[in-house]
Amino acid sequence: MKKILLSTLALLLILLLGCSKYEVQYEGAYDDNAGIDVKTNSKDHQIIYVESGKLYAIDPTLSDVRPYANLPAGIVYASINYEHDKIAYKTATGNITIIDTAGTQLSTIASTSNVTLFDWHPNNQTVYYMSGYVLKFHGPTVKTASINFGGFFPTQSDNKFLGITIREDGTYVCMIQYLASTYQRNILVSSLSGNVTQYRLGNISNEVKWFRSALNSNYVYFGGIENNKLTSFQSPVGIEYRDASLNNTYFIAPSPDGLYEIKAFDTELLVNIKNETYRKKVLGTKITALDW
């Protein structure tokens, strides 16, 4: 009986010791429903991509995808301006169409059905595009270096512009291709006065698939050359080949401030800071356009 009594007392003691209350030190109890749901109140949808012929916008946390359901099927190319309020897109055979980020059509650019290179000028209003190897503009007039591109093609066989980006001061970085027994590719960097510095890339077997630059345009990304190796160009540093592990990266775009980059790696979208992945989203298929 004594053992029962002692055990009962021990049980009561444990109960008392184990039931003391927590004393609040800071903000006290919190219910997570009081927080803001980032997925529904996300920041701007600053990034766009084209997957299976459809245009999508996504926020930098890669958590909230906004499909543009009212647009025609078969979109191949797309570009968003640096202010993230206008998008230019194009189907394989259609003209370049400009919409706002709500999806409302603003205008189309006539006679651009054959264009494959277009992007937004840093003024956020003007679209520039390559028609053959003539640089054209749609929107408010912008200051650019006046260049006769013809002089940069020593042969007249398979001349092609592979990529171009215009910088805020009106200078530009572009890549050209020509055939001189083998395909040659050069990077041209212009000054405002029209002087051009050429960087010869030599014989490169693969196509350049994309060309993207940050708003300050000191850093230009392009790829699709040398077995899809991700490549960047920084004026005046020159060509820089990135880590070989990024070989399967087939699109990359810097954020307007140039601090971050989004890239498409196989069927994944990745947001990176200095090559470190911060966000990842798995897609169904490989994309055909990417911009930030």
């Binding site: 444990i14 109960l15 903000e27 749901d37 911060y278």
Partner: protein
């Protein structure tokens, strides 16, 4: 003489059969019920009231406190030396966790985060099945005497934030993003118990035991030597917060029930 010897041997065999066929249980009572508490000093992680001699939340200093569990057990003697037990337990404990959310400031850069230093209370409910083996060599007879038992249990823990200190990236923001954490976590455990049951007045039972439980969820989480930080964000921040929360809860569960002393009082109805 030969007939007498044969008769004696036959009677002996009958007696042995009779002993082996004795009804299991204490005086034939096979069922036993037991209310118990377990206790162990909190040496590494805080209790629900933020006590303990290890890590404590906020400015609190170390103070002696115990990690407890309370439960009820029903047992059924299956043979002279074995019994099957079913138990239900509940407990409460503390958890320190750092959550990170992206800043909601529109002009913030992409690596702008709000940091949240949190203290959770975790409420746990456990269902347990045990198999007791009594030591007949020491005069035991289930459910009386020294025993050793194997346990398999499953625990569901549910957390709530009882204190929080948020450091906003931008102090002008009056709010922050949701942590997005589902505070429920379930884990199986395996356990061993060494105990002694004493019976009084042919009806009352006193149980004293030492037990150890190993949370399988904690084992599957690997190392606990980490702190949540934005560099963990190989996926979206909610998934990272959730994964790190689960790790911390698994760790807390492991240390809460790793070793404990048990005292129970019960009845043989």
């Amino acid at each position: 003489m030969k007939i007498r010897f044969t008769l004696f041997t036959f009677c002996l065999i009958l007696q042995i059969n009779n002993v082996a066929g004795q009804v299991p249980g204490y005086l034939g009572k096979r069922l036993f019920v037991n209310a118990y508490a377990t206790a162990m000093p909190a040496l590494k992680l805080p209790t629900a009231s933020n006590g303990g001699l290890g890590r404590n939340y906020g400015e609190a200093e170390n103070r002696f406190d115990i990690s407890t569990r309370f439960g009820g057990q029903i047992g059924y003697v299956t043979s002279r030396k074995n019994a099957l037990t079913f138990s239900g337990e509940f407990f409460k404990t503390g958890l320190i966790y750092n959550a990170v959310t992206p800043s909601l400031t529109p002009t913030a850069g992409f690596n702008a985060y709000d940091n949240h230093y949190l203290f959770y209370n975790l409420n746990g409910i456990t269902a347990d099945i045990g198999y007791q083996v009594y030591s007949l060599s020491r005069g035991a007879l289930a459910p009386m005497g020294r025993y050793f038992s194997y346990h398999l249990s499953y625990t569901i823990l549910n957390g709530s934030v009882v204190d929080k200190r948020t450091e906003l990236y931008d102090d002008n923001m009056k709010t922050h993003a949701k942590f997005g954490i589902n505070p429920k976590y379930g884990t199986a455990s395996i356990g061993l118990e060494w105990g002694l049951n004493s019976i009084f007045a042919d009806r009352f039972l006193v149980n004293v035991a030492f037990n150890t439980n190993l949370s399988l969820g904690a084992m599957s989480q690997g190392s606990f030597s980490y702190e949540s930080s934005p560099s963990d964000f190989d996926d979206d921040y909610i998934a990272s917060n959730q994964a790190n929360f689960n790790k911390k809860v698994a760790e807390r569960m492991l240390y809460h029930a790793l070793f404990s002393l048990k005292i129970g009082i019960g009845l043989l109805p």
